[in-house]
């Protein structure tokens, strides 16, 4: 294209369509893929056979959203008695219940925001008064839900420990880990729940997706990743979620893959954090125990960082495949009548 303003979009569009036809002719896999896509959509759309299965295949929240979805535009009906009842239901739903719920949610949101602002202000006052920062709730930490970005020494060490690709970083924050591991030539992407942090990384063209980390893990292919890094928010999850995450990560990991855990030890929390975060997060030693229980060989690597003093590295143990196959055979046996 010699001059941008001279783009003839009609001609360019026609060229692209012709090029697509060429690709179809030259690469039979593309033509086959188109057929496969067509079939997949026929199966998944309501006119196909398996739509009912799909309707119940979504995550619980999807199903709840589906159940809760009421259409205000539905005609109200013509028979007087039914019309009255339907009108009353609609009025109750839209004018009162929904209104009250919206107002309550709004109030709760405002309250939480004000409490967080208050907390942040107290933190700033403490800092201005010269109180040591580790004696107070760290700035921006909120109610123990927002660990800070990993320090450079942690980033460097985790990048050095990463094995084969593709690599997935859970709770990737602004993407420092994703960037550092990617710089080593390992295809890497991250998932971050906080849109503000994710956007900061995205604006630097780092491969981060916003969304729920466990949902992302569940949605990935089995055996897809060579390395899975658990960081950031993982340190504030309850034990049940952590075990679920380890099990899912184990499924999504290649047979030669590894899990790296780079989170702070709850024992290093200050008094306030410790009370607020009671029951949330586990120590590196417990991480090692859980990973070994899930069939990994785990070790602790010391790290020269005040928050994250140990990084857990877990490989598939030599006999884990035997163990998992034994488990699965036990499972299948137990299911037999």
């Amino acid at each position: 294209m010699s001059r941008p303003e001279s783009v003839d979009t009609k001609r360019v569009s026609a060229d692209f369509e012709a090029e697509a036809d060429n690709r179809r002719r030259q690469d039979s896999e593309i033509a086959l893929l188109e057929l496969e896509i067509e079939q997949a959509w026929a199966d998944l759309s309501p006119s196909g056979n398996s739509f009912d299965a799909v309707s119940h295949d979504g995550h619980l929240l999807d199903q709840t959203a589906s159940l809760a979805a009421l259409d205000p535009q539905v005609p109200i009906g013509s028979r007087r008695g039914l019309r009255g009842i339907k009108w009353a239901i609609r009025k109750l739903t839209y004018w009162y219940v929904r209104f009250l719920t919206d107002q309550f949610n709004l109030f709760a949101g405002v309250l939480i925001r004000h409490l967080r602002n208050l907390e942040a202000r107290m933190g700033r006052l403490e800092a201005a008064a010269g109180l040591p920062i580790d004696q107070s709730v760290p700035a921006g930490l909120g109610l123990l839900d927002d660990p800070p970005e990993p320090a450079p020494e942690v980033v460097a060490q985790v990048a050095g420990l990463a094995g084969s690709g593709p690599c997935l970083v859970l709770s990737a924050g602004q993407g420092a880990l994703v960037e550092a591991i990617g710089d080593r030539g390992i295809p890497t992407h991250g998932v971050e729940q906080d849109p503000d942090r994710a956007f900061t990384g995205l604006s630097r063209r780092i491969g981060i997706r916003t969304g729920d980390m466990l949902a992302h893990l569940v949605g990935s292919e089995d055996g897809e990743f060579g390395t899975i890094v658990l960081a950031g928010m993982v340190e504030t999850l309850p034990l049940k979620d952590l075990i679920g995450m380890i099990n899912q990560a184990s499924l999504k990991l290649k047979s030669t893959g590894r899990i790296i855990v780079a989170v702070a030890d709850p024992a290093t929390r200050g008094q306030v954090e410790s009370e607020l975060g009671s029951g949330l997060g586990i120590s590196p030693i417990t991480w090692r125990h859980l990973l070994e229980h899930a069939g990994f060989d785990a070790r602790l690597e010391p790290c020269a960082n005040s928050r994250i003093s140990q990084i857990v590295v877990a490989h598939r143990s030599a006999n884990s495949s035997d163990r998992s196959s034994a488990n699965s055979s036990n499972d299948s046996e137990s299911r037999e009548p």
Partner: protein
């Protein structure tokens, strides 16, 4: 004393295009000294200034009906045989919803039936696009004016990034903004991503918008899983204006496979943000893009994927599309569209009874 203008709309909702359009018409007419009432089917606490349709007498000099779906306000107009100005935003054909959400299909079908009945009561039709205008003319309405939907682009347009030229050879972010609905065909975009992944393994698709009907979202997720691209499709949901602007700025190209668009606000917003557009030629899409984007007559996955791949690949082409898009979007600046709407209404609201 009767007001000069009544604007009839099913409901005034926040973050709703037709409601915002109505508010902007109200503002414009009130600035020009006319009294305006908004008449609704369902009142919300947030809009206590509206009046319910039950109290509407049809005695204003001009009654403007916002019509995009079957509604009780339209039914009242038909029942009272009140002459109206029909501001038509198009109605998605029921066939798109029949299999997914029959109630919604019935509702839009009712809207179409009402449209036929409204034709004989229409003093003037105001259509968002030439595509919509043709539909009104087809119903026998002779006096039809094209005046695009009014909306404040302001919060959704940032400074286009002049240096946003590099897209990695392996990646690229494809964006679509709009309800997740069968007529918008987001499934075709997921299909295109599956093919695009062959050329660009790190490419991703961002779908902004809430689901209606919700079952369609489940099927979209199922399709993405089955095609192995689930991890690279971002279902961003409904987002604030601030986040929408960030998505526009972070994306590399806007793709649209929609089969039914009465106008296409996101196409204009994307162009205003300097985002190249690759779209399927359906309904009002081509006239909205107006030669400033790639408009394809075929949306098979490989065709869409090839066009996206080439746009992501060719920096000069992207710059060319960006410049033309920014220029094309200026046609829909609020200062321009407000004037068009005023011209469409002026003789009617100024007429002495």
């Amino acid at each position: 004393m009767s007001p000069a203008v009544d604007i009839l709309i099913p409901q005034m909702a926040s973050a709703d295009a037709t409601s915002n359009h109505t508010r902007l018409i109200q503002e414009m007419l009130e600035e020009k000294g006319f009294e305006v009432r908004i008449v609704v089917e369902r009142r919300t606490r947030a809009d206590s200034s509206t009046i319910p349709i039950e109290k509407w007498k049809g005695d204003a000099r001009v009654s403007i009906l916002q019509h995009s779906i079957g509604s009780e306000v339209a039914q009242s107009v038909i029942r009272n045989k009140s002459p109206i100005v029909l501001n038509y935003h198009n109605i998605t054909p029921a066939s798109y919803f029949q299999a997914w959400q029959p109630e919604l299909a019935r509702s839009v079908e009712r809207g179409r039936q009402q449209l036929s009945q409204l034709a004989s009561l229409t003093r003037r039709g105001i259509a968002d696009s030439e595509f919509n205008a043709q539909e009104l003319k087809g119903l026998g309405i002779d006096d039809v004016v094209v005046s695009p939907v009014l909306w404040q682009l302001g919060g959704r347009v940032g400074q286009p990034e002049q240096d946003k030229s590099e897209v990695s050879k392996e990646g690229g972010t494809v964006l679509f903004v709009g309800r997740l609905a069968p007529n918008k065909c987001q499934h075709d975009l997921i299909a295109a991503l599956a093919v695009l992944s062959r050329f660009r393994p790190q490419s991703r698709l961002v779908l902004v918008g809430d689901a209606s009907p919700p079952q369609y979202l489940l099927s979209l997720k199922g399709l993405a899983r089955r095609l192995g691209v689930y991890g690279r499709v971002v279902f961003a949901g409904k987002v604030s204006d601030k986040d929408l602007l960030r998505w526009y700025q972070l994306s590399d190209v806007l793709a649209c496979a929609s089969e039914h668009e009465g106008f296409g606000v996101p196409l204009v917003e994307a162009m205003a943000n300097g985002l190249p557009v690759v779209a399927y030629d359906a309904a009002a899409v081509a006239e909205t893009v107006d030669g400033a984007g790639i408009v394809l007559s075929d949306k098979r996955p490989a065709t869409m994927a090839t066009a996206l791949d080439r746009v992501l690949d060719d920096e000069q082409l992207r710059i060319g599309l960006r410049d033309r898009g920014i220029k094309a979007a200026q046609r829909f600046d609020i200062s321009v569209t407000r004037e068009q709407m005023w011209i469409a209404l002026k003789d009617l609201v100024e007429a002495r009874v």
